[in-house]
């Protein structure tokens, strides 16, 4: 003898899209993060704070990251004495290349100065100093 259920099962006619949206959202976030990490975002560091400046990003950019122990260009450490030749080479290949210097806020200027000097020797008229924007 079949037992009667105390409630009748209701047929459903619509698809629950919530799990689909969840999964898609997670995938979007994942690819956004991976994409950003894969980008040449260089060495993570605490940049000096500044209220002014701009956030534009030129098409061709040579990012030089300065840490207490090394100078990193395109994720590879470079000797400071070779830096001006490297910059000159990049500028010769693409004249519209913009040089951006990233240095940690706590470094003494003595660590950053050789990089600025190398830019000067390479004939760079102006550099972009990366900052952390404070509103």
């Amino acid at each position: 003898m079949r037992r009667r259920l105390p409630y009748a099962p209701r047929p459903f006619g619509d698809v629950n899209v919530t799990p689909l949206i969840d999964v898609v959202m997670v995938m979007i976030v994942f690819y956004l993060i991976v994409g950003k990490l894969a980008e040449a975002r260089d060495v993570p560091m605490r940049l000096p704070e500044a209220r002014g400046g701009s956030s534009d990003r030129p098409l061709r950019m040579l990012t030089i990251s300065v840490t207490a122990t090394e100078v990193i260009v395109d994720r590879a450490p470079v000797a400071t004495r070779l830096l001006d030749a490297l910059i000159r080479e990049r500028l010769a290949a693409r004249a519209d290349t913009v040089v951006q210097v990233r240095a940690a806020r706590d470094l003494p200027y003595a660590v950053v100065q050789p990089v600025i000097d190398a830019c000067r020797r390479a004939g760079v008229a102006s550099v972009r100093l990366a900052t952390e924007h404070v509103p």
């Binding site: 105390p6 976030v29 400046g53 200027y109 003595a110 972009r128 990366a130 952390e132």
Partner: protein, 153 residues
Amino acid sequence: MRQRSALRQYELRFGPNMTPMVDIVMVILIFFMAGTTIMGPEWVLRSAVPVRSGEGGEGDATPRVQVVLALRSIAGRTVVTGSTLQQASVGEVGPWLERFVRGAGAAEVVVLIQPAADVPYRDVVAVHDVCEHAGAASVGLIDAEPAPGASPP
């Protein structure tokens, strides 16, 4: 009889299902956390790197006034000296330069920052930042004067 009442209890559960909302809120939360930490705001200040302190402005009809601000570290504190500014703090540079720019009239004010080796980089950037805010037409970085008796590099 007992089983029937248990099922009836189950049937009485009602209210909105919070699970999808929690899911989406969590995803949005992660998104913004990642956004602020990984894709954080990286801005830039444009800094001139003149070869000599007097360089710049050739071929431009606009008159220019050049100010050299020397940054020194004295007892762990960065002091700024230049023109009429004598051993001022970084915070005093902005108001002073605003007055200076007003006094310069139509002439463009070019500020050249000359930091000493032991000055923290954040102070160099802070002075650069206030100079831009104060209305300097161009801000550049030049080398510090070599100490008397020091051998050339």
